[in-house]
């Protein structure tokens, strides 16, 4: 499912074709949960990330016209809505966990929200990686395991040992060298795409 196809489904839904709603859900929900889970890691558990994602999607389904396609991709917009909900969820959790006074709870909640700002930056980075993957997957993913390499790189993981384990390579120098080659190859593809799009 490409973004264009998703946009077409959105247009049909707004146009009154209610029957396409679940097709949109199928396409975006798992990806949305994964994004929220990876970009708001401070949430107490995995269910919180799912809850935030479900809430964002329900708000969209109830009023799909609120999404303005010209401003952001649907998944990007949903991720932002989910994140806002997740932050509110986190504020509530902070109040519930061992604070004796409202003032202390408010202070702690604010501090935790402040701590999440780097997470917001990570989310934006993640979304950029998502865009790259969506637009150029044919050029990025040529060999088995390329998607795994790309996924780890998108999370800032460049440790050859980690890549080697992910690729099922031997956890020794030969495996690490092979993994490093795969990472470098992926970097090269990304650099080429970047140069072509800059020119």
């Amino acid at each position: 499912m490409t973004n264009d196809e998703l946009l077409t489904l959105h247009g049909r839904l707004v146009g009154g074709e209610l029957q396409v709603a679940s097709r949109i859900v199928e396409r975006v929900l798992p990806r949305l949960v994964a994004t929220v889970r990876s970009t708001v890691p401070e949430l107490h558990d995995r269910q919180d990330a799912e809850e935030a994602s479900l809430e964002a999607l329900l708000r969209y389904l109830e009023a799909p016209q609120r999404y303005q396609p010209g401003k952001a991709q649907l998944t990007t917009w949903l991720a932002h809505v989910a994140r806002q909900y997740a932050l509110n969820l986190k504020r509530g959790q902070a109040r519930r966990h061992g604070h004796e006074s409202d003032a202390a709870a408010t202070f702690a909640a604010q501090r935790e929200v402040d701590d999440l700002r780097p997470a917001e930056e990570r989310m934006l980075q993640d979304l950029e990686w998502s865009n790259l993957r969506d637009r150029f997957h044919a050029r990025l993913f040529k060999d088995e395991g390329d998607r795994d390499v790309f996924a780890l790189m998108s999370k800032g993981e460049v440790d050859p040992a980690l890549h080697a384990r992910m690729l099922g390579l031997p956890d020794d120098e030969s495996g690490w060298n092979e993994a490093a080659t795969r990472v470098e190859r992926m970097r090269g593809r990304i650099r080429r795409i970047g140069r072509e799009n800059a020119s």
């Binding site: 029957q19 709603a21 859900v25 396409r27 479900l54 389904l61 109830e62 969506d134 997957h137 044919a138």
Partner: protein, 130 residues
């Protein structure tokens, strides 16, 4: 492989699991069909919606997360939804109408609106499903 090719990598089982959770969360959302299913189930515990719709869990959550049709287009919309998702159209229409009528009763006062609501529901029922 074209640049615009499908890049989604969801595991179908995960889609189904999350879809089920979404449908459950949607039961309190009046704008979605899930709320109508919830109204039906509360009033008719011995008649499960899955049996009425003639479908399994996979179709059921997809119906539940669909925006709830209403007004004059309800029958036509229900037909399109039923066709797309492979559920019984008459069952879906019954559930939607039941929920709509229940809502009318809940908001009616005792100045005759209750009777009006009942009559409206009766009129609606004579149109498309007979």
């Amino acid at each position: 492989m074209s640049e615009n090719e499908d890049v989604t990598m969801e595991v179908p089982a995960e889609v189904e699991r999350l879809g089920g959770l979404l449908a459950r969360a949607a039961r309190s959302r009046s704008g979605l069909i899930a709320s109508a299913l919830a109204v039906w189930e509360r009033a008719n515990p011995d008649r499960p919606v899955a049996a009425l719709l003639g479908c399994g869990d996979e179709a059921l959550w997809r119906v539940a997360v669909t925006p709830r049709p209403g007004g004059r287009d309800m029958a036509a919309q229900a037909q399109r939804i039923a066709a797309e998702l492979g559920v019984n159209v008459m069952g879906l229409l019954n559930i939607l109408r039941f929920a709509e009528t229940t809502a009318r009763f809940e908001t009616a006062n005792d100045d005759g609106e209750l009777l009006m609501a009942a009559l409206d529901a009766e009129d609606d029922g004579e149109g498309d499903d007979r």
